[in-house]
Structure formats: structure tokens, C-alpha cells
């Protein structure tokens, strides 16, 4: 799969699809799968501080996903360093600066951009490493002090992530359309990541179970994940609507320009994005039973996974590539397949490093012994 990605990238170069389109695709996939890694970590951390019992059973998946964060960081750094930065962000070109962009220069300038970049990745990776280590030590040494360590690092991560997820979305996504702004943007992007991240957890769980692992997972756990997918998808749609509706209603040109570009050149995808990511999870996962079995949950998870890729495509392409040059062809699909391959390679390799069932976690028994009526 990774090789398909490389071939697609090579094809992109030789077919002359243009540097901007290639760069935008790399950014898209890198960001998308970085988001998966971060959500894996977020999932573990938030449940650790909420003292959640059931999640312990799937904790290893989230931890393994978080090992992709440094990989994505290195790839992103290479990409930015070798031309990606200039081809995507027009605020990096001194000749394109206008009065508005000059105003933003204290924030949007290349050195500060890199400083923030390094801070995000170093802290994320370190905390991911500490959280994973505490969780594994808790299991292998059966020492409760690691449980408290796990919670402490989780709390630090949640606080740092609350700020960095918003700021990084401004840096890497919102500044593509450098003139435009929206206060909700960071939370919207985060929700999109959360919905697709949960979809990814479900997909990985399914693959593991198909291959005879994770036998301790029963329908109750799947049900809980299904509820998350259902709930977060609706919450994502709520934020989508809030942002769109307020901008539409107030009808201020500086703000509507963002949507008018999308409605003009990306109309099918723009509409599909809103419908796919809400309607499918809402209608297909409405009943209790559909959240409890893989044959109905997996199709929705895959749809949501593709749907939020489209969402991210919407966020990046109109500003970075523009209506005439953008498209979805072999480059887009192939590169995404490549990233899926790389992501799975890293995640499944990490999954082999620790027992899949954290048997010594204080809540493990709770996680095995509960059932829910709703």
C-alpha cells in the first residue's frame, strides 16, 4: 500500500499535475493521519482522567495510534522544508503580502511558524511516549503508582492539546486562506478529527478481531464505540451548521468569500461533505442493534473515514490549489492509500509491542463485566 502511495506521488510529478496540487495532497494526508494519531492519544488520555472503566479494553489501540504522531511530524517537517511551505501558504511570499497580511505578520511568519511546529510535535510526541510507557508499566509491573502517572500525563496532554489543536489548525489549515478567519475553526477541525479518529479505532478493532485478536472485546464495547461514532458525527454536524449558518446569516463579504469559493467550484463535494458525514451515521446508527454489530458499524465507520477525508479536502484544496486545478484522481486516491498503508504499518507494529488486554489495569475487570441497556 505504501508503494501505491509512492507510485501515485511519482505519477503526480511526471504527469505534471502541478506542485500545488501535489503539495496540497501531501498536507491533506499528513494532517489527516496525524489527526488519527492525536485522537488515539486523546481518546486514551480523556478516558484516563475521566476514570472510565470500559475503555480500558480498547486502550491499546489508542496508544498504538499515537505512535504515528512522530512519524507524521517528521514527514511534515520534510515536506515543509522541501518546498511545501511556499507552495501552499501564500503568506510566505513577500511579494504577495497586502495590508491585511502584513497585519498578521507577527503571527504568520516563517520562523514563528516553525517554532510552533516544533513545540507542538515535541510535546505531543513526548507525552504520547510517557502515556504509553506508564500504561505498559502499569500492566507489566502491576504497580498502581503508574496508574497515577498515566492520569497525570493524560491531564497535561489534555490541557496542552486543548490549546495546540486549535492553534495548529490555524497554522496548517486556516492560514491557507490567509485573509479569512473564523473563531470556531479550531473546534470544528477537532470534531472532524474526533469523528474520523473514532471511526479508525473501530476499523482497527475490526481488523484485529477478524484476525483472532482482541477476544476480550464483546458487543458492549463495540456498542460504546458505536455511540461515540454516532454522537460525534452529530456534534460535528452541529459545528458545521453553526459556522455556516452564522456566516450565511450575517452575510459579511470577508467571511462569505470562503464559502462562496467552495459553493462555486466544489459544489458536489461541499454538499456531499455535509450529507455523508451526518446522514449516514445518523440514520444507520440510530437503532441500538446497529451500533452493536460490526456488519452495520463497519460500513458506517468506513463512510465516516472517507467523509472526513472529503471534509479536509474541502478545507485545503480551494485555498491551496483552486477550482481549476484541483480534482480527485489517481494522485489523491493513490497517495491516501499509501498513507493508510504507512499508518497501519506503524500502528500494527506498535500493537505487537504490548499485550492487547491490559489485564492489570485497576479498571480492567470493570471493563469486562458490564452491560448496558442503552
Amino acid at each position: 500500500m505504501v508503494s501505491i502511495g509512492l507510485i501515485a506521488l511519482a505519477y503526480g510529478f511526471f504527469a505534471g499535475l502541478g506542485g500545488e496540487r501535489i503539495s496540497a495532497n501531501i498536507l491533506l494526508n499528513n494532517y489527516y493521519f496525524l489527526g488519527m494519531g492525536l485522537i488515539g492519544l486523546f481518546f486514551v488520555a480523556v478516558h484516563a482522567i475521566a476514570e472510565s472503566g470500559w475503555q480500558v479494553s480498547v486502550q491499546r489501540i489508542g496508544e498504538a495510534m499515537s505512535t504515528f504522531i512522530p512519524v507524521a511530524g517528521v514527514l511534515m517537517l520534510l515536506f515543509f522544508a522541501f518546498g511545501g511551505l511556499h507552495s501552499i501558504y501564500h503568506w510566505t511570499h513577500p511579494e504577495h503580502m497586502d495590508e491585511i497580511l502584513l497585519n498578521k505578520a507577527p503571527y504568520l511568519n516563517v520562523p514563528f511558524f516553525y517554532i510552533r511546529f516544533f513545540i507542538y510535535f515535541i510535546v505531543w510526541s513526548l507525552l504520547a511516549w510517557y502515556i504509553r510507557k506508564s500504561s505498559r508499566n502499569l500492566d507489566s509491573l502491576n504497580d498502581i503508582s503508574y496508574f497515577h502517572k498515566l492520569r497525570k500525563f493524560s491531564a497535561i496532554f489534555i490541557v496542552f492539546y486543548a490549546i495546540s489543536s486549535v492553534m495548529s489548525s490555524w497554522d496548517w489549515l486556516m492560514s491557507i486562506d490567509a485573509h479569512w478567519f473564523s473563531t470556531l475553526y479550531g473546534w470544528y477541525v477537532f470534531m472532524s478529527m474526533l469523528a474520523s479518529g473514532v471511526a479508525m479505532i473501530i476499523i482497527i478493532l475490526y481488523i484485529l478481531k477478524r484476525n483472532g485478536y482482541m477476544t476480550h472485546i464483546n458487543n458492549e464495547h463495540i456498542h460504546d464505540l458505536g455511540k461515540y461514532l454516532f454522537g460525534f458525527s452529530i456534534f460535528w454536524a452541529y459545528l458545521w451548521f453553526s459556522q455556516y449558518m452564522l456566516i450565511w446569516y450575517a452575510n459579511i463579504p470577508e467571511e462569505t468569500v470562503y464559502y462562496s469559493e467552495r459553493m462555486l467550484h466544489f459544489k458536489p463535494l461541499f454538499i456531499a461533505n455535509a450529507i455523508v458525514n451526518l446522514a449516514f451515521p445518523l440514520l444507520l446508527l440510530m437503532t441500538r442493534n446497529s451500533k452493536r454489530v460490526f456488519w452495520s458499524l463497519i460500513p458506517v465507520a468506513v463512510i465516516v473515514f472517507i467523509g472526513h477525508w472529503i471534509d479536509l479536502y474541502q478545507l485545503i484544496m480551494p485555498g491551496a490549489v483552486g477550482g481549476e486545478k484541483a480534482g480527485i484522481g489517481f494522485l489523491e486516491i493513490g497517495l491516501t492509500i499509501g498513507y493508510v498503508g504507512l499508518f497501519f504499518l506503524v500502528v500494527f507494529y506498535s500493537l505487537t509491542k504490548a499485550p492487547l488486554a491490559p489485564k492489570n489495569h485497576p479498571f480492567y475487570k470493570e471493563s469486562m463485566d458490564y452491560h448496558t441497556n442503552y
Partner: protein
């Protein structure tokens, strides 16, 4: 159901089922204490002040308020949003925490829901009184009429009417459905014939049969499912009142989720304020434990921090947008004539809740009480800052002005506070303040004596 031994028990003292019933029904029996009488006398006199203010407003008009041409919304909308926000905790506890299987909610949901209903009633009062002609209040409902006059469906103020009345209705039904088994218990323990008849009527003939329980649980679950999106919708619509406009400081896309978070934040603060007193006064410390208070404090940190991030985001984007009006509004908020209100808001909402990161403070009842009061004040000032400081210096410097509330406006606010506490004090006398049946459902797994009864 297995519960890990490292979790703290939710009910202290080695209780059995009959003891739970006795403890919780105790405050309803006998004559009220002198503190109760003092409380209700104080609350009623505050309500009386409000009644006078209502009288003045209705007979002399909105002119008796401190509003002017530039500042058309003042304390009234501030109070409205504040009360609606407080009304968010009850349904959040009942619906969202139910869906998240948080069993500590069982000790606090009843009183929080009652508080919600009362707070919504107080909130609804302000838009109505602001219309000036209370007798024509039914005009807000769209209905066919011979004059072919319709409400403006494009206005978020009308959406408010729908959102809040739906929320109130669902919360009321939810609260009452939860009460039915407990009213059955009260009826069975009633000492006089009249009480038995009244509670018997209110309990809808509850017998506690398996069939009744099964239906009761199904209905509760469906209502929880319906109420969960309502928790979000109400304050989302309230935020639209501001955010759909083109006023700098009002029009910003982060408002819907930020308002919802702020509402839950202020709601929990008010729940804490009320319950810390209630648990002490009614001897319910073993049901509403320090553990419950700590859990609520964690929600305070979470929602308070979300609100804090939203403040900073707004401020940053105001600069980042390059929109000079937006930037002016924010600088004016922080350093203009209303800076004092802004810094009260910042201190109370962003800084004080962060103290709850320390476990000692989180579990300290006196400090929690003080901080909860701070949050209540802070959240009131948040709405004041949003409403007044965005309006008072508009696009036209010649119309800039300042706003001071008149004594009538103060009276209206104090009046709703009086009404709120009066109704809450009545509530604790006529209904069980803790959901007896629900507390019993967690007693076996989370009572203090569970470790004796459970073996591997």
C-alpha cells in the same frame, strides 16, 4: 455489575434500603426549621421587591429602566441569558451524564432538575417583561389570526421561544417522570389522609410492579435521548440572538458551543451553591458526598477552561481578522470604561476555576462554595460584558453612551432571585430532594458496605 475497589463509594455510612428512604424523606416531615422560615421570609421579601418593579415597569413602561437608544439591551437580557444558562445543569446531569453512565449523578439529579425548571421560569420572565405589555405576550406564538399578522420567522428571538418552551416542557416531563416512583414512596409513608390522597393522585397510581418499572425506565431513556440534544440547542439559539447580528463582539462563529459550555459551567456552579447548603441543612452529607462535589468541580474545570479558551480565541481572532471594529470592541472591553466588568469576568471565570486542579481545593467544601459563588458572579458579568460593552460604543461615535441600571431593573433581578429561592425552598418541603429509587439502584455496587457483601 463489578465496581473497582479503588473507586470511592457514592453513598457513605452503612445504609440499607429502608434507611435510605427514611433519610431522604426526613426533611419533608414535621414542621420546618427556623432557618427554613428565615430563608423563605428573605426570599419572599426579595420577590416582593420584584413584584413592585414589575408593577412599575408595566404601568410606566420600559422608560423606567436605564436603557437608552444606543444600549437597547441591558440587565434584562443579561439576566435572561444568565438564568437560561443556570437552567442547563439539570438536564445535562440527567440526560448527558445518564448516557455517559455516570452514576454519581443519582444523588444530585433531582434537585438539579428542579433548579433547572425554576431557573428557566425566571429566565422566561425577562423577555416577556421587556415587551412592556405583558398582556399581549401571546403575540410571540405564531398562530393564524384575522389581521394576518405573523411573527418573524427569520428572527433568532422567535427561535428562542421555541427552543426554550421545548426545553422547559421536556425538562418538566423528565423531572416528573423521575419523581413518580418516589411520589409513590411518599404516598406509602404518608401519615395523614389528605397527604395520602394528594400524593396518591400525583403518583398516577404507581404500584412498583415490574411492568411499571419497565415502562418507567423505557420512558426515562427516551426522554434522556430527546433531552440530550436540547441541552445543546437552547443555548445555541440564545447565542444566535447575538451571533447572527453584525455587531462587533457579537458576531463570531464560536458562540454556539462556547455559550453551551458556559451555560453548563454556570449551571454547575449554581448546583454547587445550592447543594452545599442543602446537604448540610437537611443532613444529606452521606448521599451528596465530597466525592460528588469533586466530580462537579471537575466539570467546572472542564467547562471553565473551554470558556477560557473561547475568550482567548475570540481575542486573538479579533486581532488576526484585521477587522478594526472587532479589534476596537475587544480593546474597549478590556481597557475601556467597562474594563472593571471585563476583569471581574476574567478573574471569576478563567482564573478561579483553575484552582480546582488542586485536589485539596476540589475536595474542600468551604472553598468550593466560595468559588461557586465567584463563578455565578463571573458568568453574570460575562453576559453583561457581551451585551453592554459591545453596544455602548457602536459604529457612530456621536451616539456612544453609558448605561446604569435603574432601581426598577435591580428590583426585577432581585425579584427573580427571590422567586428562585422561594420555589426551591418549597420544593425541598414537598418532594424528595434526592431520587430515592435511583440512589437505591447504585447502593449495592457503590455503597460504602459493598466490600463486605461482594466477594470474588
Amino acid at each position: 455489575m463489578y465496581v473497582s475497589p479503588i473507586r470511592e463509594p457514592l453513598i457513605r455510612g452503612n445504609k440499607d434500603y429502608s434507611q435510605v428512604t427514611k433519610d431522604i424523606l426526613a426533611p419533608m416531615a414535621g414542621t420546618p426549621s427556623k432557618y427554613w422560615y428565615m430563608g423563605i421570609a428573605l426570599a419572599l421579601s426579595a420577590a416582593l421587591f420584584g413584584a413592585w418593579a414589575t408593577y412599575v415597569t408595566l404601568f410606566t413602561g420600559i422608560g423606567s429602566w436605564g436603557l437608552n437608544k444606543t444600549i437597547g439591551w441591558g440587565w434584562d437580557i443579561t439576566n435572561f441569558v444568565w438564568w437560561v444558562g443556570i437552567g442547563h445543569a439539570g438536564t445535562f446531569i440527567s440526560a448527558i451524564l445518564l448516557l455517559f453512565r455516570q452514576r454519581w449523578r443519582t444523588s444530585i439529579n433531582r434537585s438539579a432538575e428542579a433548579m433547572t425548571l425554576i431557573a428557566i421560569a425566571c429566565a422566561g420572565f425577562f423577555p416577556l417583561i421587556h415587551m412592556g405589555r405583558l398582556a399581549l405576550a401571546f403575540f410571540i406564538f405564531p398562530y393564524p389570526n384575522t389581521r394576518a399578522l405573523w411573527v418573524n420567522f427569520n428572527s433568532p428571538l422567535l427561535w428562542d421561544v421555541f427552543a426554550i418552551s421545548t426545553y422547559f416542557a421536556v425538562s418538566l416531563i423528565f423531572w416528573y417522570v423521575g419523581l413518580i416512583p418516589d411520589i409513590g414512596t411518599v404516598r406509602d409513608k404518608a401519615t395523614t389522609k389528605i397527604k395520602k390522597a394528594i400524593y396518591g393522585f400525583l403518583s398516577f397510581g404507581w404500584t412498583g410492579s415490574a411492568k411499571h418499572w419497565s415502562r418507567h425506565e423505557t420512558v426515562s431513556l427516551i426522554l434522556a435521548g430527546l433531552a440530550a440534544p436540547l441541552v445543546l440547542s437552547v443555548h445555541t439559539i440564545v447565542s444566535f440572538d447575538f451571533a447572527t447580528s453584525v455587531i462587533p463582539g457579537w458576531h463570531t462563529t464560536i458562540f454556539p458551543p462556547y455559550f453551551v459550555s458556559g451555560a453548563v459551567f454556570s449551571g454547575f456552579a449554581m448546583v454547587l451553591t445550592l447543594l452545599i447548603v442543602t446537604r448540610k441543612a437537611l443532613n444529606l452529607e452521606q448521599y451528596i458526598t465530597v466525592n460528588h462535589i469533586e466530580s462537579m468541580n471537575k466539570i467546572i474545570i472542564l467547562t471553565g477552561s473551554i470558556v477560557g479558551i473561547a475568550y482567548l480565541t475570540e481575542f486573538f481572532i479579533a486581532w488576526y481578522s484585521g477587522n478594526e471594529y472587532e479589534m476596537f470592541t475587544f480593546v474597549n472591553r478590556a481597557f475601556g470604561p467597562y474594563a472593571w466588568a471585563y476583569w471581574i469576568m476574567m478573574t471569576c471565570n478563567v482564573i478561579t476555576p483553575q484552582l480546582f486542579w488542586f485536589k485539596k481545593i476540589r475536595r474542600n467544601i468551604v472553598l468550593t462554595f466560595i468559588i461557586s459563588i465567584f463563578v455565578n458572579i463571573g458568568m453574570w458579568f460575562e453576559r453583561f460584558v457581551i451585551v453592554v460593552s459591545s453596544l455602548h460604543r457602536d459604529y457612530l461615535p456621536s451616539s456612544w453612551s453609558m448605561y446604569t441600571p435603574s432601581v426598577v431593573e435591580v428590583g426585577l433581578f432581585v425579584g427573580t432571585l427571590g422567586l428562585f429561592f422561594t420555589l426551591f425552598l418549597l420544593f425541598i418541603r414537598v418532594f424528595p430532594v434526592i431520587a430515592i429509587a435511583e440512589v437505591k439502584s447504585v447502593l449495592k455496587t457503590s455503597g460504602e458496605n459493598k466490600n463486605h457483601s461482594e466477594h470474588e
